[in-house]
Symmetry: C2
Subunit: 153 residues, 2 copies
DNA sequence: CTCGGAGTTGAAGCGCACTTCAACTCAAGG
DNA sequence: CCTTGAGTTGAAGTGCGCTTCAACTCCGAG
């Protein structure tokens, strides 16, 4: 059958480097069978998983969260289009929120360009309550120090 | 004069950790004078720089690019509101583009949820030409392998 | 003068998402 | 059989944006 893909084939078809695919597999995002000679063979459904992974990354979701999402797929049967649609929908909100925050940032930036302020205290731009931050990787704790110890008692 | 801020004061006012401020200074994003005892003293204008840095990060700009932008500020005179406005405007386009790409991703995601495809070949979602990727840090080469050697000659 | 909190440095570590490397095996063609 | 290209592994490296640490100094109040 034309079912099984080698890692090279999966890489070519998905545009994801073999090293990345092995990395995803170690993290449990995709799965493979092994041949007698210990080589990976991927079912075609893994292509869809890889696609979902890359799309999710564009939405700004970490691999760990993507793994959790993928874990919620039915393991017994092959996921249906509906299953995938449900997963995609779960990112919709995040995407919407992300777009909303960026839009707000843009409007605020326009406002601040108008007034030329860029002053930290009042400017809505510098309001940690909207945690748009903590989005890209890197050591965490982007803006979260809004609370420099409010005196215990 | 009430001009000079210690690193602790700048940290408290900007919400940025002292370690991060020292890091920014090493990268040349902010500047300080030194006291006789080798301690940093920041002019109040540095507050504005720090604000600009954090805002720029939210737009998705790297520290290196922020440094370049800040380098374009007039070094002789204290930057005016107009100077800052010009810098902010330079991020506007990036922000717009980012929002546009995310919006496209959302629309495509809706489309793909509708058809349930998520198939790599045709799906507009997985089109490397729109390089929304390469945005967060991490080892590079996000989607760029669209060209698996088109036969030389 | 003494004390403690704030500051200084360079070096190392961290988290994420990978890539690169060395050393090896596997699989198919000539 | 031999070669070549594709695959295997674990360990280490990379880039970004920091934080943490150890060991030290500075500075102001008591």
């Amino acid at each position: 059958m034309h079912e099984a893909l080698t890692i090279g084939q999966l890489s070519a078809r998905s545009g994801v480097a073999p090293s990345a695919l092995r990395y995803y597999e170690r993290l449990g995002l995709i799965r493979s069978e092994r041949t007698g000679g210990n080589q990976r063979r991927y079912a075609r459904t893994e292509l869809r998983r890889v696609a979902f992974i890359r799309i999710s990354q564009q939405v700004g979701v970490s691999l760990e969260e993507i793994r959790e999402a993928l874990d919620s797929l039915p393991s017994s049967r092959t996921p249906t289009p509906d299953d995938w649609a449900a997963l995609s929908r779960s990112w919709r909100d995040r995407l919407d929120e992300k777009i909303r925050l960026l839009g707000k940032l843009r409007d605020d930036l326009d406002g601040c360009i108008g007034c030329g302020c860029l002053s930290l205290q009042r400017c809505t731009l510098y309001n940690p309550d909207d945690s748009l931050a903590a989005e890209g990787p890197g050591a965490r704790l982007m803006l979260p120090r809004p609370d420099p110890d409010p005196a215990p008692a």
